[in-house]
């Protein structure tokens, strides 16, 4: 179960946002997509899932398990979403439906893909809620009653509820407090290991990336400027962009030990 | 801040703005022209020529008394313009007064005014008009005043938050600190910030005024029989609806086009003066035009 993106081009409202991007996420790999804001990273993720806004033009190739996704009908892509490929978005404040309880929202992927009955789905949702370490009784609450960190846990639970093979995380910690960031990253790492998922992690922060990804693709203005293992990016960055990202990186930089 | 001269150009570039401006201009010109010339005297009765179909010399035909419909429409435009302008003026005065009261005074009075305004909003314009008609008899003044009150209150409700926001903004605080007089502050800071919201509401309000005049004149509480009015014409032609059904098309179309033009002008103004909306056409902001007669 691998993802292969080849020469992806995305135009939004006439503007070219992604300009010939190629990379792959092999089965079980943890790949990072890094770049400044506006480099086209989120758009790439949305393109993979067919979630771009109206008026977007996509060309090139996106292959999941050898099957071409570009140009596919939304129905087919919807079957993939959540079940094969899950995604966690950046903004926990707006990612959840304010009118539904958390439990219902976590249970939803199972009800969609496995046609689970309500009671079974809710039971599984409770198990998922425990895995992401949500507090007692969270399932009965509404999103506005939870903190930002808790909402993001809900988002993660929803993304993995149907046990997808690939998890895309689009800046999942950017909108969170620094103290919570580490917890969420650790949680993500744990879940990925436990379920044997592949990870595509999108961020602008090299420090965060170094904690979750082994390989990374660096984007600038919609193009790939460098692709290498993270350890190389940290120690011997080849492009100016990467050097700039290194400078901007915050807090603890995880430098691998000298042994490779 | 938005480039002031630019907004007119932007307005013209929008289909809504262009349509609105053209319609308003045409109606205004027709009304003005009717003051000095109409094809026939609108009140001229010509029984032999009654119910003439559209053609020559009566381009839109004649009514039951042989009056030329086109001339009646032109003269009616005058009434429409007068009512819209009059109601606009009343609404402006009332609205700004209430808004200032609400924004400038102390806490207690402000709350009272806010509650009062919210209550008055629920009072439909038509009911106000009928209330006033019950005592003073129907007349165009009744229409002007009641519509003016009705949408003046709406203007107050919409401009008050803008006014307050601007009053407490950094610009104004700095201006006050640097010793500008209240008048200078008002003209240089308050007016430009409140003006966009205000003229949008004014446009929509005038659309309501036109519909209200039509409705009230139809009911007999607006224009007196001697005053040409589109609404009155509708009421007169109604009596012959079964025999001459298409005669009502003309005054109805006139009202519809005018109201449509004013509404579009308001929409266009909103887009032209709001920088965030300018980026995305037909944006998802809620437009609640005032209740209509």
């Amino acid at each position: 179960m691998s993802l292969e993106v080849t020469d992806l081009v995305v135009d939004l409202d006439g503007r070219r946002v992604v300009d010939g991007v190629s990379f792959a996420v092999p089965d079980g790999a943890r790949v990072g997509l890094i770049g400044e804001s506006g480099s086209g990273k989120s758009v790439t993720a949305l393109a993979i899932l067919g979630l771009l806004p109206e008026g977007a033009d996509v060309s090139g190739s996106i292959r999941w398990d050898g099957v071409e996704l570009v140009g596919r009908h939304d129905r087919d892509l919807a079957a993939l979403r959540g079940e094969q490929i899950g995604i966690v978005f950046q903004e926990p404040q707006t990612a959840l439906n304010p009118l539904r309880t958390v439990g219902r929202q976590i249970a939803e992927p199972l009800r969609i893909h496995a046609r689970a009955r309500r009671r079974d789905a809710l039971a599984r949702a409770q198990a998922d809620a425990d895995r992401v370490r949500l507090p007692e009784g969270a399932l009965r609450r509404y999103p506005h009653q939870l903190s930002g960190g808790q909402r993001q846990r809900v988002a993660i639970a929803m993304a993995i509820a149907a046990r997808p093979r690939l998890l895309i995380a689009d800046e999942p910690t950017t909108a969170l407090d620094v103290t919570i960031q580490a917890e969420i990253l650790a949680l993500l790492g744990e879940l990925i290991d436990d379920d044997g998922m592949s990870l595509l992690f999108i961020t602008h922060d090299l420090a965060v990336l170094s904690q979750v990804a082994t390989d990374a693709v660096v984007l600038e203005h919609g193009r790939v400027v460098e692709a290498a293992p993270v350890s190389i990016l940290l120690t011997a960055p080849a492009s100016e962009v990467t050097r700039g990202l290194l400078r901007d990186a915050t807090a603890t930089l995880w430098r691998p030990e000298a042994s490779s | 801040m938005t480039d002031r001269a630019g907004w007119l150009r932007r307005l013209w570039s929008l289909p809504t703005g262009r349509f609105g401006l053209v319609v308003v201009a045409v109606i205004g010109v027709l009304a003005a022209v009717s003051l000095v010339w109409t094809p026939f005297d609108p009140q001229r009765v010509d029984i032999p020529a009654r119910w003439a179909p559209p053609g020559w010399p009566h381009i839109l035909g004649t009514d039951a008394s042989g009056r030329d419909i086109l001339s009646l429409l032109l003269a009616g435009a005058r009434t429409t313009v007068l009512v819209a302008a009059g109601a606009g003026a009343v609404a402006t005065l009332l609205g700004l007064a209430l808004a200032c009261l609400g924004a400038l005074t102390g806490r207690w009075l402000r709350e009272v005014v806010a509650v009062l305004v919210d209550i008055l909003i629920a009072f439909p314009v038509l009911l106000i008009a009928m209330m006033i008609s019950a005592v003073w008899g129907g007349s165009l003044w009744v229409v002007v005043i009641s519509v003016g009150i009705g949408f003046g209150v709406n203007i107050a409700r919409v401009t008050r938050p803008e006014l307050r926001r601007t009053l407490h903004s950094d610009f104004v605080l700095a201006a006050r600190a640097s010793g500008l007089t209240p008048v200078q502050i008002a003209t240089r800071h308050l007016l430009p910030n409140v003006a966009p919201v205000f003229i949008v509401q004014l446009s929509w309000g005038m659309a309501v005024a036109v519909l209200a005049e039509a409705g009230l004149s139809y009911l007999g509480f607006g224009a007196p029989p001697t005053q040409p009015s589109w609404g009155l014409l509708l009421s007169e032609l109604q009596n012959y609806l079964t025999a001459y059904p298409l005669s009502v098309v003309w005054p109805g179309l006139a009202i519809t086009i005018t109201v449509l033009g004013l509404n579009m002008l308001g929409d266009g103004l909103r887009e032209a003066t709001d920088p965030t909306l300018a980026r995305r056409r037909s944006a998802a902001s809620t437009h609640t035009p005032a209740v209509v007669a």
Binding site: G50, L51, D74, R75, A78, A79, R81, G82, E83, G86, I87, F89, E91, T94, A95, L96, N97, P98, L99, R100, E108, P109, I112, H113, Y142 | D118, I119, A122, F123, P124, L126, L127, M130, M131, I132, A134, V135, G215, Y218, L219, G220, G231, L234, L241, L246, V248, V249, G252, I255, T256, N263, S282, A284, T286, H287, T288, P289, V291, V292, A293
Partner: protein, 316 residues
């Protein structure tokens, strides 16, 4: 929630009081000399004085107001100056026309606004979407009276399917005919109000389409359309509820005019007649009744809106 409900109730009562005062003042104070106007120019001073007595104008104003309000609380809205019949009885009789008319109009308006508004949002930028949007704007600009006339011309005069005027004398004891008399009036009001509401529905749907949580729903495996319908529409429904109050006011106003056009013996037509007759006590009562309806509906709608939105309910 209860605290909010009580506050709103308080505001409702306050609104009713203010409305009653305004109506009272306008009808008692403004006239100058109502009695003189009613009596006419050729009347004798004795006739005028008699009318003043009948109107109860010789008592100080606050007392007059108190008398009126006192009557209101016991269900007595006064009596007609012309016929002497109690206002409440008249209102009840006419309500059998106006209330069904109002409900049918609202139904028509919703039936038009919801599907077409959503469709217009989904097809934004495309030819049919723009056509729908423009159509709605045009219909919303049409004077309700004229719309009624045109519908009468088509359906009553040309096609003869429905009556052009009137309401059966036996009222609802002939339900078929009664209903048929209300169809064209209700459709008229409903179409114009519906057009206005449709523009709102379109905006609200566009807003819903852009919501992040709709995208999240699609990311879980729903098609984008299903995500919008299942997750976005409830928010649209919620915001519609908040404007229903305005719609009711519009329907009340529309009813007054439409009842005149279709000669329906409803409250609106009665009001118009009474205003013409200067039957002030009746007008007072009728106006208060209509205003009360608008205010009460607004109150109910407000509470329902709050009740349905979990964000606004008090956390238990």
């Amino acid at each position: 929630m209860t605290r909010y409900a009580l506050t709103r109730l308080g505001l409702l009562l306050l609104g009713l009081v203010v409305a009653s005062v305004l109506i009272f003042l306008t009808l008692r104070v403004l006239p100058g000399d109502v009695a003189q106007q009613i009596a006419g120019t050729n009347s004798t001073p004795e006739q005028v004085a008699a009318i003043r007595e009948r109107l109860g104008l010789n008592v100080p104003l606050p007392v007059q107001y108190a008398e009126w309000v006192g009557g209101l609380l016991t269900g007595d809205l006064g009596a007609s100056l012309v016929t002497g019949t109690p206002v409440v009885a008249e209102l009840a009789a006419k309500a059998q026309v106006t209330i069904p008319l109002g409900l049918m109009s609202m139904a028509v308006a919703l039936l038009i606004a919801l599907p077409f508004g959503i469709l217009a949002a989904l097809r934004r930028g495309r030819a049919d979407g723009t056509f729908l949007s423009f159509g709605a704007q045009t219909l919303a600009a049409v004077p309700v009276v004229w719309a009624g006339m045109m519908l009468v011309v088509v359906f009553a005069v040309w096609l003869g399917w429905l009556p052009a005027q009137g309401f059966p004398r036996d009222g609802w004891r002939e339900p078929g005919r009664a209903f048929a008399s209300l169809v064209l009036p209700a459709v008229t009001i409903g179409v114009v109000e519906g057009a206005m509401l449709m523009r709102f529905v379109r905006s609200a749907t566009l807003a819903a389409m852009g919501q992040d949580f709709v995208r999240t729903a699609a990311a879980k495996g729903l098609t984008r359309r299903a995500a919008l319908l299942r997750h976005g529409l409830p928010t649209v429904g919620l915001s519609i509820i908040s404007v229903l109050g305005l719609q009711v006011a519009g329907i009340v106003v529309g009813a007054v005019v439409i009842e005149q056009l279709f000669t329906l013996p409803g409250i609106g037509r009665m009001l118009v007649a009474d205003v013409g007759l200067r039957d002030l006590p009746k007008v007072q009562g009728e106006l208060l009744a209509l205003t009360a309806v608008v205010l009460v509906v607004g109150f109910i709608v407000d509470l329902v809106h709050r009740g349905l939105d979990p964000r606004q309910r008090e956390v238990s």
